[in-house]
Structure formats: C-alpha cells, structure tokens
Amino acid sequence: MSERIIDPAAKGWATSWYEASARARIDGLLDAGSFREVIGPEQRQMSPHLPLFDLPRAFDDGMIVGSGRLDGKPVLVAAQEGRFMGGAFGEVHGAKLVGLLRAALALKPDAVLILFDTGGVRLQEANAGETAIAEVMRAITKLRAAGVPVIGLIGGRAGAYGGGGLIAGTCSRLVVSEGGRISVSGPEVIETNKGAEEFDSRDRALVWRTMGGKHRRLIGGADAYADDTVAAFRQAALDQIGRAPAFDLATLEAEQARLEQRLTRFGDCRDGTEIWARLGVNDPEAVPALTTAAFDTLLASLGETTHDAR
C-alpha cells in the first residue's frame, strides 16, 4: 500500500492554515491565551468608505493586530482576513498595520509577524490602500534597521498579491506553504490585459508553477517552506526569528547580486520547470506532487536556495 499522509481516522486533523480564519491562525500561532488585540471588533472601527459603494463592512476591516507570545518571546502580530474583500488594503486595514509597525519601534519585540492573505489594494479605497502600503514598507525597513525582525507568513487563500507581494519582499524572512502564492500581478489580471496566450489563468498548475509556494521557495523568494498547518507555521516562524538578516548596504548589495544573477541564469526560462531543472532538480515535473518531507530533502540537496540577501 502507498504512503498515507492524511488519515484523519487515525490521527485527527491538524488545523489547516489555508482554511483557518485570520483569528484562528493567530490563536494557533501564538502561545495559548497570550494574544491581546488592539482595536478589537467591539470598537467597530470599520471602513468609512465601503457604505458609499453599498458594500458590507467588517468590524475589524479584515486586519487583526495585537501582541502576544511565541514560545514565550514577545511578538507583535498582524493578520489579514483573506475572505473579507480578498484581504485587500483599505484605509483602516492598512493603518492598523502601519500603527503596529510604528509601535514595534518603541516596544522592540523579538519579532513582528505579518500573516499575509491579500489580493492587494482595495479598489474602493485604492489611494488610501496604496499609500498605506508605501507607509508599511517604510516602517518595515526602519524597524529592520533597528534590529527587529519582520517575518511574513504566506499560506492563505488570497496569497500575497499586488502591494502585498511588495510588502512581503520587504520582510526579513518569509515562510510559505504550498498553497501560498506570492506575486504582483495576478493570473486573471495578466490574462485580462495580455490575453490567454500570455497567461491562461484557468491552468491552475501553471499558476502554481509560476507564483506558488514551492516555486518561490526554490528560487529563494521565500526562506522556509511549511506544511499547511498552523502548527507548522508556528514552528517555522520560531525558526526564522533568530535568522533575520540585517537591513544595511551589504545586505542590499547582496540582494542586488542575487537578483541580477537570477536574471542572467533564468531570464530566458518560460516555465518554472525549466528554472528548477537549471537549479539542478532531476525531475522537475515531479516537484508539484512532492510531499513536504520530499521537498525538504530536495531543498537540502540544492543548497543554494537559502540566503541572507533580502
């Protein structure tokens, strides 16, 4: 009989990160009972703009922020709810994250954890969302320069798209699961603008080979690969806290070299599988189906995917 990875009858289900709500992710990620929310839902700080569009609002505007402990370490946490407006950045949503990052500058937590789940900017509040993303990126670099690691966790159904992808690229470390996607333009956006010949968004396997968790981890776009469970993300976040690269000229020069080298080596590749083959993966076609254990083994054999150039 074949390997049985999932057997709920025997093991019971671990909570899926992909399926969990933002609140459930925080609950499972942090030490039990340690989360203290700031501007909780009872304050009803909802979007002042959505009523204009006759759209429903959420009590937390899809962004939950606060403090807690991760294996005893003090951390600040922000989590996006990907099912509310696609986790998109609106005015309140963005301002809560900006505030949290500014608070971290004074509080000096062991890390700030950002639980991404976003399609990018909320169109109904586009200018506020876009500006907030710029504020977030500035705040993150300031915080990193002050020695506070900012760790992004990406494995929600909305992924980290648009400005969310840019914020992710600003973090000290990124943890991604198979379901997590990191990208600027979404498949549907590319298809709408450039046609299905450029990108067939219904070809889901292509989507994941282009922007999915395994691809991002393989090319060094993410630093750790986690199983799709809240427990695995917790462990991965813990592992990354002590390994955050500094934010200085040396790091960015190393990143410049890393990104230039990527263009030279893979700039003519048409598909993820071609890149993986050049990385030294023997059977690129088999990568999407690899289990976490097999994928970890593959990563270890390649070596070069782990770096501090971020």
Binding site: T131, L166, G169, T170
Partner: protein, 238 residues
C-alpha cells in the same frame, strides 16, 4: 512638463542624465554638490530588468557616499504584466528597488519623488512612493486603476463612479486625489525653476512619515492617522 524640460530646469549648467529603454539615470550639479536622478520615462512599464537596473543605480549612489539627494522622476505605466516577470519574482525586484531608496534615504541621501506623468500600482509603490517625500507636476496622473476598469471590477456604472469620484478622493485616480490622500506632498510650479523648488522641498523634509497626517488634514484619508496612533498608544505586552 517633459523629462527634458524637467532636467533642463533642474540643471541649467548641464548634466549627465540619460534615458535608455525608458530608464532614467544620471546626475547634475546641485547646490554646490550633486543631485542624482533616476526614474522612468515615457509611460514605460516596470519589469524585473528595469527594476534591477534602477536599484543598481541607487546602490551606486549610496556606495559613493556623501549626501547627494536622489530625485526619482516618474512617468511610468504600472508594473509590467507578464508571465516571465512573475515567474522571475517581480515582487522581489520591485521591493528591492523600494528598499534601496529607503536605505539611501536612511544613509543621508534625501530621496524626493517627482511624478510628472502617469504611474500606477506596483511601479508607483516601488519608485515614487518609496521616497521620503513625493511631489508632483501639473498634468501628472497617478492612479491605481482607471475608472472604466474600476467599473468593471466593482460592477458599478461608470457614470455613477465618475460622480462619486468628484467628492471621494479615496478611490479616484488623479494627482489631486493623491495630494488629498497625503501621498503627494505638494504640486510644484512648472513656470518657476525646479532646482530651487526641489531644494526647498529637501530643506523642509519631514523627519517622520507624515503622509497620514496630511491625509487627515486634506480630507482624503480621514481616519488613517488616528487609527495608527491608537495602535501605537495601546499596543503593549501583558
């Protein structure tokens, strides 16, 4: 104003600014020192290759030391929308470009964004919005998405959106709306020499990120500042 007019107005004594494939790079004399210029011209989309080169230019300035300010002049399309760009990790390239600008600023090279044409979405965030202060020129047209596209996505009639856009700066495209949101600090006067106006902007650089305060004062982002401030006040470890 065109890029050539901008450069001429900035550097009446001459400069080394060149444009290749829509990417702007060079410098010129400025207040007894130098002003570095990078940017995007001609409504060019920003992809992995362009972002990487621009980031390299910024790092060159930082590596050279000194305190030369960096002007980021922008007339771009959005990010380049293609399979190849995303395959190669466009988010990392755009974020890297933004980080180099933020690092340069932190290293004593004041960064000033100047939007004189179009810009949108990821290209806007990675360039003009990653500077310490962003100013615009009349006629500039930053946007996240044009109204017909917004109409398509939100399934609202275009004429209703156009009516809403008149008094709702938070979602409508255009320079004025970005000013009211606080993203663009000021609009420069194209009839006066730019060198002096940019110098004045640099002299008045805010120490902190004051875009949310401006957004409240100008009515484009009514609550962001208060929300962020409340989080700063109330976040604590139990």
């Amino acid at each position: 104003m065109t890029l050539a007019e901008i450069i001429a107005s900035l550097f009446p004594e001459g400069h080394s600014v060149t444009v290749a494939e829509g990417l702007v790079n060079g410098e010129g004399p400025f207040r007894g020192g130098r002003l570095a210029v990078i940017g995007i011209d001609g409504d060019t989309a920003l992809g992995v290759d362009g972002a990487c080169r621009l980031a390299g230019y910024v790092l060159d300035v930082v590596r050279r030391g000194g305190a030369a300010p960096i002007l980021v002049a922008i007339d771009s399309d959005s990010q380049r929308m293609s399979r190849r760009d995303e395959l190669l990790g466009l988010n990392e390239y755009l974020a890297h470009l933004a980080k180099t600008l933020l690092l340069a600023d932190a290293h004593g090279h004041p960064t000033v964004g100047l939007i004189y044409g179009h810009s949108a979405a990821g290209a806007f965030i990675a360039t003009a919005l990653a500077t310490r202060v962003l100013v615009g020129l009349p006629g500039a047209n930053p946007s996240v998405m044009d109204l017909p596209s917004v109409a398509r996505v939100t399934k609202l009639p275009l004429d209703r959106l156009e009516a809403m856009a008149k008094d709702t700066p938070v979602f409508a495209p255009g320079l004025d709306n970005m000013v009211r949101t606080g993203a663009v600090q000021a609009v420069l006067d194209p009839d006066q020499p730019l060198a002096e106006q940019i110098a004045a902007v640099i002299d008045a650089l805010p120490a902190d990120d004051t875009r949310d305060r401006a957004g409240r004062e100008r009515g484009g982002r009514p609550v962001a500042e208060a929300i962020a401030a409340q989080v700063v006040r109330e976040a604590a470890f139990g």
